[in-house]
Subunit: 173 residues, 2 copies
DNA sequence: AAGCGGATTGAGAACCAGTCTCGAATCCGA
DNA sequence: TCGGATTCGAGACTGGTTCTCAATCCGCTT
């Protein structure tokens, strides 16, 4: 977890930010909520990013564009996007939350490297079925789920080395 | 999430707290760490509990037994138990962490009711295989995983009612 | 039993992500 | 353009968790 800002996603860099923005505009109108400049700017940043952004990352991106929004607004807007189903919230055990655009039904789960902090995604065709079965068996009606695998990736030499060391010394140390 | 202190686990109330304590003593000796009175008391509370305890819960249990430990010690000891593999840490989106004894290889995952806050467990025989496959395919070496299903349980009338309402109104409101 | 070196403890301060407050600014339909 | 409702934002606040460091405890040796 040396550099949390380098988290990446394997989701393709869609050029659909504009489409997402139209969806947001529609959702807001439907709820009679104003489409403010701040909401547009924050949503834009999230929609255009292929990474998992923290509230701080969003504020930094705003600054970089010469814009600005109070942190209360950043948090409120991110929460709003989650509520509208246009973003998802993630906790990668860093002590703060990260956000990501929710593009339609592109369900996926995360692999988090405990060495370098990189986050990648995976999708297993059987996972949905398995979790649905497990919930049904317990009389539980699922709404959302979180599936995270923590471990070591093979992206950098440092991670591969850490992995070798880990295998030599053993899991309990 | 009305009453977070009523979380339950379906793990049977094992009488193995004494055994766990011996394991702890051994692990500490092996690492040349002192077996202090506070470590014993905090571990005892966790080993004897069948619930998911927060740091606050642990401190309250200590008080109830006429003992006491500074909160720094409670947090440090819980982190130590996790590091030794004798406990696991969970985040049920309550804004704080909960801890649970890790009895051997009794791997299980959690169902969290967003209405009443109850936490129950499940085990699906295929889940391990699926996650291992997914990680392997991405060249990722898994260490731990977190699988959580958020939804509505059927334990109380209130939860069953909330579920009906939810189904009528639809997921997006 | 007493001494000793090193790790732990604990009260409280510090930290920090996230929330709240409330007057000012903005939005948007008419 | 106007007006009423909503949002914005600077900064105070909250609460879980970590840090600080002097006093204490542990476990080993004599």
């Amino acid at each position: 977890m040396s550099n949390p800002s380098t988290t990446v996603s394997t989701r393709p860099p869609l050029g659909c930010a504009a489409v997402m923005m139209q969806v947001l505009r529609g959702e807001l109108r439907e709820r009679e909520l104003p489409f403010t400049h701040q909401r547009e700017a924050i949503a834009q940043i999230l929609f255009e990013s292929t990474r998992h952004l923290s509230a701080d990352d969003v504020a930094a991106s705003l600054r970089q564009r010469g814009e600005h929004a109070g942190k209360a607004t950043v948090y409120r807007t991110l929460a709003l996007l989650v509520e509208l189903g246009l973003a998802t919230e993630h906790d990668f055990d860093e002590g703060f939350k990260r956000y990501e655009t929710q593009v339609g039904a592109a369900q996926h789960d995360h692999l988090i490297c405990t060495e370098c902090g990189r986050v990648s995604t995976f999708h297993h065709p059987e996972l949905d079925r398995i979790l649905a079965e497990a919930a049904a068996e317990k009389g539980f009606a699922p709404i959302t789920r979180q599936v995270k695998i923590f471990g070591t990736c093979s992206e950098s030499a440092a991670c591969r080395k850490a992995l070798r060391t880990y295998r030599e010394v053993g899991p309990t140390s």
